[in-house]
Amino acid sequence: MISVHLILFLAFGAVALAGAVNLLAQTHPINSALSLIAVMAALAGEYLLLGAEFVAAVQVIVYAGAIMVLFVFVIMLLNAGIEDRTKGSRVAVLFGIPGMLLGSLLVAWVLLRHSGTEAVAVGALPGAPKTIGMLLFHEFLLPFEITSILILIAIMGAVVLASKPPTAPPVEKVSD
């Protein structure tokens, strides 16, 4: 039976897949970045279908609205052009892509074969911000705090790495 839910799933999934493939196919990083944004938006739609509205919103705000902006920003800043065609690793092309396809097919086969008809209902689990907040600040408080430290360290690391390297102190000339 084809339900609205399934149609929406397929539509978003198609967008996501198209975006993912486009990410690989495009040679210009900015196009790849935009395809990735499309993937993320489509995934946000999937999250909505799964009843995770808060995750969907955060997916858009954080992933699409902040992280990807950072990517686009860096691409613009470095004025990254079209990818160079250098001699690549032939191993990757010869074994990597077929291997990946084979692997994903295998995974798909196993999953489809084994988890058959168990279905996920729409909105079965309302991801209300309140409940998630409760979970996050009670059960997962320690991981939460640890990730906050992680992100603090990341901020400092980014500042240190991206700031202009200090000019080396002038070497004193030894008169001979």
Partner: protein
């Protein structure tokens, strides 16, 4: 309510809201020119129509008939997509803005809102955060160093101020306990001591309002934070290379964003459509929408007033202000609110 009626009302509401919004955008431009003109001891538009009231229509026609120039060496797909992105996301967020309570027609209660999403505020935040791409991509795809600088500035500025913006809203969220804009407005009904309205701005969120104001000005790239366009240094920033309708789209996007921000400020801090109700039933039904409009108008006037008054920041000042002043301030506001509510 049968499904066809639901769809019908939704379509009608969308059409009305979109029409009103676009008109409002057009007349905000007129208003701005007029007000700034008077502030600078000139008249502003006077020629087209009485008080220049038809000026927006004339401008629109002009944009439509101008040559749509696409310079060489631009990255065409994105050059075309950027204004669309800007205007589409600017207009989208209006969909969840409630502009009044429900009205009852023929036994059916129709909420004055295109759609009531229970995470409406998040949706607006998400949509505005996507809106950055319009400006950034326009700047980059123009293949022009001024535009690129404008785009870079815009993306850095908007990402930076989005944090303060979000944090300044969290205080309100804590007080109302909901993401639904309707609930937030309803939480502000009533009065203190019988005469002070129970709006969030009078309810301890004055600092939050201040932070929101600053961050919103920066988000909409308005003076004093209009560095992405900064005509004196960057010619016109990200839309240097744009002309005709594509330029008009950026223009529309900017003013639509202003209106969205004004709506949000009204809903979150100024009590939404709450105001004195009196008179017959029909008046009582219309008055909330009127109050809502008045508050938005006041906020837009503030926008224009600031534009006519303040000079532009330097870029480093802008970043320092955002990160070193506004962010800590909104954080403190958040903590203080949380403590007060937990009390």
């Amino acid at each position: 309510m049968p499904i066809w009626l639901y769809i019908l009302t939704s379509v009608i509401k969308s059409a009305i809201v979109l029409g009103v919004l676009l008109t409002a955008v057009a007349y905000t431009v007129w208003l701005e020119r007029k007000v700034v003109g008077h502030m600078q001891n000139r008249w502003g538009p006077t020629r087209v129509g009485p008080f220049g009231l038809l000026q927006p229509a004339a401008d629109g026609l002009k944009f439509l008939f101008k040559e749509d120039l696409t310079p060489p060496h631009v990255y065409k797909p994105l050059f075309l997509a950027a204004p669309l992105i800007a205007v589409i996301f600017a207009l989208t967020s209006i969909a969840v803005i409630p502009f009044g309570n429900s009205i009852t027609i023929g036994g059916y209660s129709i909420p004055l809102q295109i759609t009531d999403v229970n995470t409406g505020l998040l949706l607006i935040l998400g949509v505005t955060s996507i809106g950055v791409y319009g400006v950034a991509l326009a700047g980059w795809s123009s293949n022009n160093k001024y535009s690129l600088l404008g785009g870079l500035r815009a993306s850095a500025q908007m990402v930076s101020y989005e944090i303060s913006l979000g944090l300044s809203l969290v205080g309100v969220l804590i007080m109302s306990g909901s993401f639904s804009l309707r609930d937030i407005v309803n939480a502000q009904a009533g009065h203190f001591w019988g005469f002070i309205p129970r709006w969030n701005i009078f309810h301890g969120q004055i600092i939050g309002f201040f932070c929101y104001l600053m961050a919103a000005y920066a988000e909409t790239n308005r003076i004093p934070f209009d560095l992405p366009e900064a005509e004196t240094e960057l010619v016109a920033g990200y839309h240097t290379e744009y002309s005709a309708m594509k330029f008009a789209m950026f223009f529309m996007a900017e003013y639509a964003n202003m209106i969205t921000v004004a709506c949000l400020a009204t809903l979150l801090f100024l009590g939404g459509w709450h105001g004195p109700l009196f008179g017959p039933a029909i008046l009582q039904a219309i008055l909330p929408v009127f109050w809502f409009g008045v508050k938005i108008f006041a906020f837009l006037f503030l926008y224009i007033w600031v534009r006519g008054t303040l000079p532009r920041f330097r870029y480093d000042q802008l970043m320092a202000f955002g990160w070193k002043f506004l962010l800590p301030l909104s954080l403190m506001n958040l903590v203080a609110t949380a403590i007060a509510v937990a009390w």
